[in-house]
């Protein structure tokens, strides 16, 4: 027999296009997924009318306007929609840099579906939830070790919420020191913008530093920026360009000497796990996004989880409650007079804390360091591959290696072919690849941010680079192919303007009917 012909790269992908209506459009009056039998006389006698005991205020006068569909319709509908996406389990998801789309082991999903976790209630008595409190306590201790900080809270609902909690602790600490006149927070343009945003929400004036000629945060600008008004330095390192600021300890020293506190945005610690810590650079606070570094699902796809780490000096200001351990018993401590209060209801997003705990435990200290080493190696391998492609460059710190991600620029390709990065985004979907174009702040022209993480193999990275190379060839040979993409994908091109006009948004079916002037169905 003949061998099967080898598969070419990039693969000859073609996505499903089902033209599937919105589920409300499938609705027909009276159609049902499950037909329930009438309640038997005996049961009725035994149970009575439980709904009848509801107060009038809780009763609907009209039934909810839910879609009425059959079982097989529902299955078909969602199976089809799933074929029209390019999810993390379907493609080589390295094209969503800054988001750290690492592969999350499925066994951890089994753990969080265990009844021991799903049936917990946040109002249960402490004595009945010792297990989850122990998991939280141990996870806090592990994050203390990873960051070098003295205490950690797992209460924030997400990474940006953790930054905000850190800013609130800074404000409380400065107030306790009699330093409330300090009203400025300093950040860098390539730090995640949530740092500037959180400081603004907390009432600080924000001072942004731009890179020096070599692409590093400019220490001269920092020295010019600090004063008796400086409350805090809020920085990411490595920055979203993948460049690590080697003078970070000097930055911290300059701000400390001016009387400010320093918070390290370690939302994405994937490149530095087990290699460097916030403590060694002198930071007073730091935070993690558990969904980036510690393999819980990404926040945009479900509830996230954030963690704040602080030195002993800042610990009194941690949100309440804290998880404490005494004589082998775990409890929640609300009696912390200097606390900034609560930053979310109850305490943390328990399933994500279990996932992060399981992930760290399965790797151990050595494994965490290998995650970082592998992520950095993968990134620099991909950097080498990508820079061989015509039209792409890696601006800032030319010739230097990067940590866990690279913000590339297709500026040359755009100048020479008129093809822009968002054209490539759409064309990549024709090859079954996810390529995202969110690069806040929008500073690098024609940006592309790739972050391979530790999850992907050399073959995977070669395949991704092959798609980029093919798109570059197309742009130079026949830019209209790229500009008019997608050709093999589910949906047509979207236009960005309506996203800026709330009148053209409809996030519910009811809003859609109202804004399009149709009657409610």
């Amino acid at each position: 027999m003949k061998p099967i012909a080898p598969k070419p790269l990039p693969r000859r992908f073609h996505q499903a296009r089902w033209d599937e209506p919105i589920i409300f459009e499938l609705s027909r009056p009276g159609r049902r997924g499950v037909l329930l039998p009438p309640v038997g006389e005996e049961i009725r006698r035994e149970v009575g009318d439980p709904v009848g005991e509801l107060p009038d205020a809780l009763r609907r006068t009209l039934p909810p306007a839910l879609p009425e569909v059959s079982q097989n319709q529902v299955l078909r509908h969602y199976a089809r929609l799933s074929q029209e996406t390019l999810g993390v389990d379907l493609n080589i998801d390295v094209g969503q840099g800054t988001c750290t789309m690492k592969y999350s082991p499925k066994v951890n999903e089994q753990l969080v579906r265990a009844p021991g976790l799903t049936e917990l209630h946040p109002r249960q008595d402490e004595s009945t939830v010792q297990g989850i409190l122990e998991v939280m306590h141990r996870l806090e201790e592990m994050l203390c070790e990873i960051s070098g900080m003295d205490r950690v809270t797992l209460q924030p609902a997400a990474g940006s919420a953790a930054i905000y909690a850190n800013v609130c602790m800074i404000r409380a600490c400065q107030a306790a020191r009699g330093q409330s006149h300090r009203d400025q927070a300093i950040t860098t343009i390539f730090s995640h913008p949530s740092n500037a945003a959180a400081a603004r929400v907390a009432g600080y004036e924000v001072i942004t530093l731009y890179p020096d000629a070599d692409g590093y945060p400019d220490p001269g600008a920092l020295r010019a920026a600090v004063s008796e008004r400086t409350a805090a330095l809020l920085v990411t390192n490595p920055e979203d360009t993948g460049i690590f600021n080697p003078r970070i300890a000097e930055f911290v020293r300059v701000v400390h000497e001016a009387g400010g506190l320093c918070a390290y945005d370690q939302a994405n610690a994937n490149g530095i796990l087990g290699i460097t810590r916030a403590r060694e650079a002198g930071f007073d606070l730091c935070h993690f996004n558990l969904h980036k570094t510690f393999s819980t699902p990404h926040g945009c796809g479900g509830p996230a989880a954030g963690a704040c780490g602080v030195t002993a000096e800042l610990a009194p200001f941690l949100p309440v409650p804290t998880v404490e351990c005494q004589d082998g018993q775990f409890r929640l401590d609300y009696d912390r007079p200097q606390s900034i209060g609560k930053v979310r209801p109850f305490y943390g997003v328990a399933p994500n804390l279990v996932r992060a705990y399981a992930w760290i435990m399965s790797l151990g200290a050595e494994g965490l360091r290998r995650v970082a080493e592998t992520a950095v190696l993968n990134n620099n391998y991909l950097l080498d591959r990508v820079l061989r492609i015509r039209g792409v460059s890696a601006p800032y710190a030319p010739g230097r290696r990067r940590i866990e991600q690279v913000r590339y620029s297709w500026e040359q390709l755009a100048r020479e072919t008129g093809v822009h990065t968002e054209d490539l985004e759409i064309r990549a979907a024709d090859y079954g690849m996810h390529y995202w174009t969110s690069h806040h702040p929008f500073v690098v022209p024609e940006p592309m941010t790739l972050e391979p993480t530790e999850s992907y193999s050399r073959e995977d990275l070669d395949e991704y680079a092959a798609v980029l190379g093919r798109m570059s060839d197309e742009a130079y040979a026949d830019p209209e192919i790229v500009r008019t993409a997608p050709h093999n994908s589910t949906v047509h091109r979207t236009h960005p303007e309506p996203f800026d006009d709330p009148e053209q948004w409809a996030v519910t079916w009811r809003a859609y009917l109202r804004k399009t002037g149709q009657k409610r169905g």
Partner: protein, 386 residues
Amino acid sequence: MPRRRLGFIVNPVAGIGGSVGLKGSDGVETQQRALALGAEPRAGERAAAALKPLLHMADAIDLLAAAGQMGEAVARRVGFRPRVVPVPAAGGATTAEDTRQAALAMRDAGADLVLFAGGDGTARDVCRAVGTDLPVLGIPAGVKIHSAVYAVTPVLAGSLAAEYLRGGGARLREAEVVDLDEEWYRRGQTVTALHGYLMVPHRAGAVQGRKVPTPPGENAQAQAIAAAVAEQMEPGRVYALGPGTTTRAVAEHLGLPKTLVGVDLITREELLAADVGERQILAVQERRPLGIIITPIGGQGFLLGRGNQQISPRVLRRVGREHLLVICPAAKLAALQGRPLLMDTGDPEVDGRLAGYLEVITGYRERAVYRVVGGEPDENPEPEAT
């Protein structure tokens, strides 16, 4: 797609002086000297490169080309069948007046957009003819490209024009027309003026993803800056308000009129004098404390010495650094891609005193600390991408 009307003007002598070291191509005499020195016209070639990305939609475009060498010939060579807009000089030597006449005729013919190939001098001519009446976009072909109305390359000019005509993501904004005085430039002195604004399509931020909300547009940013400046202005102090759209937002916030391309003297309450020169500023300084509010002019990030020379070294010497309010939307700082802001006041001592790190107001309770240096920019700097 509905049919679109695209105007097309080529200044055939644009850039002719550059290749033979003449630092410009203004004036018939210079152009003849350039030709005598062996210069080869290249504007047509660059204009053709800009038309090519539009060729695939030729059926949907009515191309209005200026006659002969001013557009028609290039358009035909590329494969368009243009409607010809007559210009006085067709066939003979072209002048600035031809560019102006062509731009006016295209406006009157209902052009949706005019592509013009040239340099800063050509942009000035277009600006004088149509101002901000109709959208235009420059194809860089001249020696001097300091105006922000030019795309970075001819290909980008063409693809941006295509995007705009298709009704895609490109939007309009006012972009500066600045020009050096070539006579002075040849004698080794840089005298630049801000001549006005043109409406040009741009696509900055069009690719911003949906993870974060779209950053506020330039107008919203300018309004936030204006609110911050208004709070910082001291009662009783007179301010010299420099040219620019960001400084105009300050005047609008205060409810005052503004000379877009000139310096006005204002207080928080009133306009004291419009479009003043150095002498009037110095005269006010004799009687009252003065502050200065300026924004970088042009794509190169010139803070002083380009387009706002009225704010002279003599004026600056008598203003404390704390009363020099520098304002700039963050996107404009970012577009400098790490290059410092520039000063060229003509007085090295004043440049030296201001050089270093300046606080720049980038929004309401938002500042940047940014480096500013004195002197000339690098050779052949790129204009701001549009």
